[in-house]
Amino acid sequence: MSSANARTPPLPVESGIWVVVFGELSIFTLFFSVFLYYRALSPELFAASSATLDQGLGALNTVILLTSSWFVASAVTAIQQAGGRERALRYFSCALACGAAFVLVKVFEYGGALRDGVNVLTDEFFMFYFMLTGIHLMHLLVGMALLGATALQLRGSLATGNAASNTLVGFSSCFWHMLDIVWIVLFPLLYLLQ
């Protein structure tokens, strides 16, 4: 990753990608505001329920997604450099591994909560917790599928010698960074605010 640098020209992406990214960010911003509204109505309940979450696991998942974003950004830079497609493939694979690690941590967290008898019906906080993290997780699985498709396409282009499609690379990378941004705000909302 040390070879990544900001001097590489930006990857040309289709304008429709920004509609998806900023559309998703706007919807999630609305969700965040609704959460904060209900939190302000029952601050004690939200603080008590939030305190039962494992902040360490939330922080771990934040670092995992930040690292995955670094890999994806490095892949996009590498793909535009001469002979960088193999490196880009490795970076995309590492980002996918980070995505899998995030899912594992989340499943472990959900499993612990369900074993403790906590579920979506427990209280308002946990309704928001399962809904917001669940929607994010579903988006993350879509993001992983996109990264996987990008990696497969890159592998195919390496085998045939043809150029890889900028559209898929641009879309999957922007979508993945959008997921990172959503989690960056979700982490303090759900785990830190007391």
Partner: protein, 87 residues
């Protein structure tokens, strides 16, 4: 040092700072700082990892507009809901 490494380091340190701050102190001011740090981190991801800095001007403006919108929506709801509820 690449810009990605610097951005990642700042992002991880900001995450740890928020975590520590929330554990060390309490109150609405800490909550406000934690939310602002989160949006600052989001802006770094947009500018460095998504390379918005090199994007066409409308996309850059859209990006800055979203950060401002999120700031207003989150802090507005965080601060004003209790006020309207009690008044």
């Amino acid at each position: 040092m690449s810009s990605f490494l610097i951005a990642w380091t700042v992002l991880v340190l900001a995450t740890l700072l928020s975590w520590w701050l929330e554990a060390a102190a309490d109150g609405d001011l800490v909550g406000t700082v934690v939310l602002l740090v989160a949006l600052f981190k989001a802006r770094i991801v947009l500018r460095v990892f998504m390379d918005i800095r090199a994007a066409p001007p409308p996309v850059r403006w859209l990006c800055e507009a979203w950060v401002l919108l999120a700031c207003t929506a989150l802090l507005g709801t965080y601060w004003l809901t209790p006020y309207f509820q009690t008044s």
